[in-house]
């Protein structure tokens, strides 16, 4: 187990270095950074000075090394546009994105798993057919369209929910949360549903497919033949066996929820990292873009690691020493 985690950590490190290289090359290939820092009328001498001071005349490998060392200390430089430290900017925006992603994932799980179980158990009931049809809509409609439709219905038409922003935010010092105020919750409802809808339908279809598969297995038949009540068969024996793929997909999806919150954040003007990233692209604010890239990669890597560790928790077959099972 320990050896496995160490191995995964080393792999993750390689992935992060590759991503850092990509982020770093943005500085070099998307325009001259000095051009973006100084005015048009700056003399060549001043520019050369600046270049020397920023270390831009050093060999590429040295610069990359410096970039990695700084990034590891969460120092991503200063935003061209905001003139503030990128890490501080991201830290200000992160809570909004993370809360949104978290709420979306919870919504996707809480709604998706029961719907999947229901449609798996009652394959031919009309409610299952309704669920499946709705899920088709969820999978095929683009996120921004659903978001705009929801704004139209619930904000413009019914006037129940705010159409943009995060509502009132409580600052806890290290974290600003919208989950402590009513307006915060109200503002979070539509973005989280919009963002989580796709994952929800995905989870529902996945759980359904897995349930159908598991219900055909011998151990479920045997559980029935032993006279166990339906509840024990369905939830104890069947559902638990569907969890391994569900954990994988949900985990990986959590990464994409955070990464692809960009669109939802834009539609709802949600003040998170995604919105800032989009604005950064518009103003070619490379430090923010690079930092965001690295951050998202980091989140994916961490989530993958956690998912792998969760396998061990759920499936006892993996807990045996890998050394003995190294044959395959």
């Amino acid at each position: 187990m320990i050896a496995f985690i160490v191995r995964r950590l080393l792999q993750s490190l390689v992935v992060m270095l590759v991503v850092a290289l990509l982020a770093f090359s943005m500085f070099r290939f998307i325009g001259d950074p000095v051009n973006q820092m100084v005015g048009v009328d700056t003399t060549e001498e001043v520019r050369e000075n600046l270049r020397e001071r920023l270390g831009l005349n050093d060999p590429v490998s040295v610069q990359f090394g410096r970039f990695v060392v700084n990034a590891a200390q969460l120092d991503f430089g200063i935003s061209y546009q905001h003139k503030k430290e990128v890490s501080n900017l991201l830290a200000e925006r992160a809570p909004a994105t993370l809360e949104l992603a978290f709420l979306s994932a919870i919504f996707a799980l809480i709604v998706g798993v029961p719907m999947g179980v229901y449609t798996g158990l009652h394959r031919d009931s009309w409610l299952s057919k309704v669920f499946l049809t709705v899920s088709l809509v969820g999978i095929s409609l683009p996120t921004f369209l659903i978001g705009i439709l929801m704004i139209f219905i619930f904000s413009v038409w019914l006037g129940w929910l705010p159409s943009f922003g995060r509502g009132e935010v409580v600052d806890l010092g290290f974290w600003s949360t919208g989950l402590l105020t009513v307006s915060g919750w109200q503002a979070a409802i539509m973005p989280s549903i919009t963002l989580g809808l796709f994952q929800m339908t995905l989870i529902m279809r996945l759980v359904r497919a897995e349930m159908l598969e598991v219900l055909r297995t011998d151990y479920v038949k045997f559980a029935r033949a032993r006279g166990l009540p339906n509840r024990a068969v369905h939830f104890g024996h069947a559902l638990k066996n569907t969890l391994v793929p569900v954990i994988t997909i949900t985990g990986l999806q959590l990464g994409s929820i955070i990464a692809f919150a960009i669109i939802t954040e834009t539609v709802f003007q949600w003040p998170g990292m995604g919105l800032m990233f989009l604005q950064a692209i518009q103003t070619v604010d490379i430090p923010i873009m690079a930092a965001y890239l690295i951050l998202i990669a980091f989140i994916f890597v961490v989530i993958n690691l956690i998912v792998d560790i969760l396998y061990y928790v759920v499936d006892p077959r993996l807990r045996i020493d890998r050394a003995t099972a190294a044959g395959h």
Partner: protein, 349 residues
């Protein structure tokens, strides 16, 4: 464990005392599957009974309806399969039309079932002990602790060494034979009156097969359970069963005491089956093959389903379907044993 002696005991099994009332009576049971191409009849009007303490072997090729019969009896047919007619009685009580919840309580407690593959019969995510205590507590009001003690007793009863250590292990930590022992313990843990063993040894190594069969036999005798042993292995049947029913295309072709059926087959299909068993010392030519293969359920021939493959078929076999009739010391569904037919043939010849 002392399997040699129990096996020796079982050799005299035919002489064991029996109760009067059959544990299981099946009457004109019919199992159907509605499909787009029409209704398939997987089990067609079969009747048999199992006496108290008796082991009834059910043999036949794949698709003959053996497993379907077992599944129908325990009430676990997968929809759209359904019992389309007939009755199943357990100790005199009709069970084929019980509401789900009531039948659910009988499963495990009054009828147990052992499946073919011990590797897949146990849920990989739960310990062996969890499986046992879960089943025990479903059918009794024992506490968790008492149930665990009972589980330990059962594990040692089925011959699992060091049960205190093994009980908290997962199925993947057991070998195939050991797992099938656990499955047997699970099937028996609420003392059912009848065990349906559906190919309990097919997935196991030959050397383990005999052990499991003897274990099943011994435990069922000790617990007073009757057994319906479904298999395609005549060797297993010959060693274990008291009586044997031979199934062909959803019907019983022949049923009788095991020695009779093996040594003195009355139905041409049974004869063919027995001829197909290789014997030590027999030459290759001694192996008889039955021509053709079993018909699909969509194309069951008219009259006797076996007639296209039967070397002794005559006109009536093509037209009329034979029911079970006395044939020697067994019963066979074959017109050769119809007294009228015998008379006619004698008259002709």
């Amino acid at each position: 464990m002392n399997e040699t002696t129990t096996f020796a005991d079982s050799a005299g099994a035919t002489a064991r005392p029996r109760g009067n009332r059959p544990v299981l009576e099946v009457e004109k049971l019919r199992v159907e599957f509605p499909t787009r191409k029409g209704t398939l009849r997987a089990v067609d009007d079969i009747s048999f009974h199992i006496d108290e303490g008796e082991v009834l072997g059910v043999v036949g090729e794949s698709g003959a309806g053996k497993s379907m019969t077992g599944t129908a009896i325990i009430g676990l047919l997968e929809p759209p399969g359904r019992i389309a007619g007939g009755e199943v009685r357990l100790e005199g009580e009709r069970i084929d039309n019980l509401p789900y919840e009531k039948m659910r309580r009988y499963r495990g407690a009054r009828i147990g079932m052992v499946f073919q593959d011990p590797l897949t019969s146990l849920n990989p995510l739960y310990t062996v002990g969890f499986h046992l205590t879960e089943t025990i507590r479903t059918h009794s009001d024992l506490s968790e602790k008492q149930a665990r003690q009972r589980a330990l007793d059962l594990l040692s009863e089925v011959g699992i060494p060091a049960p205190e250590r093994r009980i908290d292990q997962y199925p993947h930590q057991f070998s195939g034979g050991m797992r099938q022992r656990v499955v047997v313990a699970l099937a028996l843990c609420a003392n059912p009156r009848l065990i349906i063993a559906d190919e309990p040894t097919t997935a196991l190594d030959v050397s383990i097969q005999a052990q499991i069969i003897r274990l099943l036999q011994r435990l069922c005798r000790e617990h007073g359970a009757s057994v319906m042993l479904i298999t395609h292995d005549m060797g297993v049947i010959a060693e274990t069963a008291d009586r044997v029913a031979v199934m062909y295309a959803g019907r019983i072709a022949e049923v009788g005491p095991v020695q009779e059926v093996v040594k003195n087959a009355q139905h041409p299909y049974t004869e063919g089956l027995m001829g197909a068993i290789p014997t030590i010392g027999g030459t290759h030519e001694d192996l008889v093959q039955i021509k053709g293969s079993m018909p699909r359920l969509t194309q069951i021939p008219s009259g006797c389903a076996f007639h296209p493959r039967c070397p002794k078929a005559f006109d009536r076999c093509r037209r009329e379907r034979p029911e079970l009739m006395p044939a020697g010391r067994s019963e066979a569904a074959c017109w050769l044993h119809d007294p009228a037919e015998k008379g006619r043939r004698r008259g002709n010849g």
